[in-house]
Amino acid sequence: MKSRVLVVDDDPALAEMLTIVLRGEGFDTAVVADGTRALPAVRELRPDVVLLDLMLPGMNGIDVCRAIRSESGVPIVMLTAKSDTVDIVLGLESGADDYVVKPFKPKELIARIRARVRRTEAEPAEQLSIGDVTIDVPAHQVERGGEQIALTPLEFDLLVALARKPRQVFTREVLLEQVWGYRHAADTRLVNVHVQRLRSKVERDPEHPEVVLTVRGVGYKAGPP
């Protein structure tokens, strides 16, 4: 089955070019040119990945991102012309999983999209736990005391990566490679923002984390099981 990519971009030339490139790589594509129509399209088409331009008419890309995230865990990759920390962190905090700065190379974009959809591959049955949080890997479910915690696929991947090697300290670079699929070192802000988001969901007190611990100057590791 082909993975479906929803392109939300107001620039027709770029949208068409994206379609050509993505189809060439074996993706199904749908294009939406208006921010306000992005959420209905997500509901209707149930895409595997959303490519979202941050500068949109009708509805700001950040708001679109929040709206989608509020009802779906679909992976979102932002397209942005701004590489300022503020813009990127804002985009990530509003729910984007990854971002690509314009102008990007097609290969780079494809790599980002593939990294987001690869989780559909079959995984072996596995039960993991950090602290009082239990993770059912094949079912993509996280529970604390019988209560479900809703995580986006990316947050889930991040948590699983940490939980699989409880004693290992992960540097941000290693996490970028394992979770985001970056071959080369990239922006460690991705890791910071997503760890914050993950903590806000799985920790009892995000100020004093017990599940995802910070190792100063190095990176992160899982809390004791």
Binding site: M17, V21, A81, P103, K105
Partner: protein
């Protein structure tokens, strides 16, 4: 010094006094130069003192001569009148005869009494003493009445010759000097001539003149003080607004562009204030305009860069699609698609650099500092340019210790090092490029050294200029934008660090990045040497304008490399 203690003391004392004098003179000169008010007051004082002294002298002389003239006229009149009286009284007296003395005495007494009576009726010659005497050249005994010894002899000689004459003398009476006017006249008697003198003491006149003199002095002094005061007040009126203007102008120059002078009335000072304010307003508006232009220009650069990105993305993807199927193309088309892709890379790099520099110019760039091992950052930077180094056949000689922790922005530091290494490969002519990482307690440093063409004198300061090229003809192989080093130095500044260049023709060039270990730290020295390697470690200060590491710190020098000596 112990041999002549006194002389030494004296010498020292003199020296001290001289020094003190010099200091005082200097201080006065300083005040003199700096205070217009003081200058005006002192000049006024000096000039008016001269005028008052001259005026006083003239006045005094005039008054004195008038007083004396009046006295003299009166005295002459009185003498003549006395002589007439005496001639009548003594017409029959023979001075040589016995009893003449009595006659003479009587005559004088009458004269004196008559004069006393006359004084009350109005003449003003004042009191006097009369002398009546026989001539000295008379053979007989001299007969005289009154203080004849007070009469000067030369006067007597003139009177003896039969003329009326006068003389001013100073007599001493009971130890007090009394200026006296003596008027003498011969008096004819039946039997020869007598000499008649009147002595007018000038005490009253002297007192009057003294009074006039002291009045003049006191008056002059009071006048001087008043003049000085007036000059002070008047200049103050002018100087105060000038001082105020100076203060306001200073504040304006310090950047308080809203400072204006208060304007009151319509006089010259008010006009000065008005023109000053007009000038300030004009300058202020021009500065604002320039600031706005600058901001606008930066906004524009940023907007253009952003707006260019979307079409560039489309073009880039289209080019890549073409490039991917280049195998099916004709040779000319294939080469064209390759050129398109490589030039797009360059265009992209330039756009990115342009955007970054506009961000740095606008001051919105922020330092995403975190504690990292700089080793990893440098290694990543080198890996990024490794391909380019292999292409040009440039060996990279690395001396990168691990565990060099510092609070830096890893993205920026990586970019700096990447730029420096790419630049070194670009100009290294294939000779080895050394990259050294060093540290001390307060700083970390990265040195990038090539052994290529080097820099001409003065070029080390220019390499950080935007779009600067060492030689117009020299091609850039790395396809750098020409902004790399400009961005690098701005990045270093953002860290509060240094980025310095060194180079010599034929010896290559070196770039040294020195960053504080902690955010907000100060860089005062670098653990690495910028110039060519020398052994032993040179003394501080020997490297010209380049700060050398402090003595005692471990010097991290570039180890000799297998291929060293290239270019030297």
């Amino acid at each position: 010094m112990t041999v002549f203690p006194l002389a030494e003391h004296a010498r020292r004392g003199v020296a001290q006094v001289r020094q003190l004098t010099v200091e005082l003179v200097d201080a006065f000169n300083a005040v003199w130069r700096r205070s217009l008010q003081l200058r005006v007051v002192i000049s006024t004082l000096a000039l008016s003192t001269t005028v008052i002294v001259v005026l006083g002298l003239v006045l005094q002389t005039q008054i004195a001569s008038r007083v004396v003239e009046g006295k003299e006229t009166d005295a002459l009149l009185r003498t003549e009148a006395g002589a007439v009286l005496l001639e009548r009284d003594l017409s029959g007296v023979d001075p040589d005869r016995e009893g003449a003395q009595g006659e003479i005495n009587n005559a004088l007494d009458r004269l004196t009494n008559a004069s006393a009576a006359a004084d009350q009726s109005g003449t003003s010659a004042g009191e006097f003493r009369a002398v009546l005497t026989t001539s000295r050249d008379n053979t007989g005994a001299q007969v005289s009445a009154g203080p004849v010894e007070d009469v000067a002899s030369d006067l007597r000689d003139t009177v003896a010759q039969g003329t009326l004459s006068r003389k001013y003398v100073t007599l001493t009476e009971q130890g007090v000097e009394v200026p006296t006017l003596i008027v003498g006249q011969p008096v004819r008697t039946a039997n020869g001539e007598l000499e008649f003198y009147l002595l007018f003491p000038l005490t009253a006149e002297q007192r009057t003149l003294g009074l006039v003199q002291s009045t003049l002095i006191v008056g002059g002094l009071v006048l001087l003080l008043l003049l000085a005061g007036i000059a002070g007040i008047v200049t103050r009126q002018v100087v105060r607004p000038v001082r105020q203007a100076a203060e306001i102008a200073e504040r304006f120059a310090d950047g308080h562009l809203d400072e204006r002078m208060p304007v009151q009335g319509e006089d010259e000072v008010a006009r000065l204030g008005e023109s000053y304010n007009e000038m300030a307003t004009s300058i202020q508006s021009q500065i604002r305009q320039l600031e706005e232009f600058g901001a606008l220009q930066r906004r524009f650069t940023s907007d253009v860069s952003h707006e260019l990105r979307t079409p560039l993305t489309t073009v880039r993807m289209a080019a890549d699609v073409l490039h991917a199927s280049r195998e099916e193309m004709l040779p000319a088309l294939r080469r064209s698609s390759e050129l398109l892709v490589t030039e797009l890379d360059r265009f992209e790099a330039l756009l990115g650099d342009l955007l970054e520099i506009s961000r740095l110019d606008a001051g919105v760039a922020e330092l995403g500092a975190e504690r990292v091992d700089v080793h990893g950052v440098v290694v990543r930077a080198i890996e990024a340019v490794r391909g380019f180094a292999d292409e040009t056949g440039t060996p990279l000689v690395l001396d990168l210790p691990t565990g060099v922790y510092a609070e830096v922005d890893p993205r920026r530091v990586e970019r700096i090092v990447r730029n420096l290494v790419a630049n070194a490969i670009d100009h290294g002519e294939g000779r080895p490029v050394q990259v050294v990482l060093g540290q001390d307690e307060r700083t970390v440093a990265v040195l990038v050294r090539d052994h290529g063409v080097g820099l001409r004198p003065g070029e080390a300061a220019l390499v950080f200029n935007r779009f600067w090229r060492a030689e117009e003809s020299r091609a850039r192989r790395s396809g750098g934008s020409g902004l790399g080093l400009s961005i690098a130095i701005e990045d270093a500044r953002l860290h509060g660090g240094w980025l310095q260049a060194w180079g010599e023709i034929g010896k290559g060039a070196a770039f040294r990045l020195t960053l504080p270990r902690f955010v907000g730290g100060l860089v005062e020295s670098s653990p690495l040497r910028l110039g060519p390697e020398e052994r032993p470690a040179p003394a501080p200060g020997s490297a010209g304008s380049v700060p050398t590491p402090p003595v005692g710190w471990p010097m991290v020098t570039v180890p000799p490399t297998g291929t060293s000596g290239a270019g030297r």
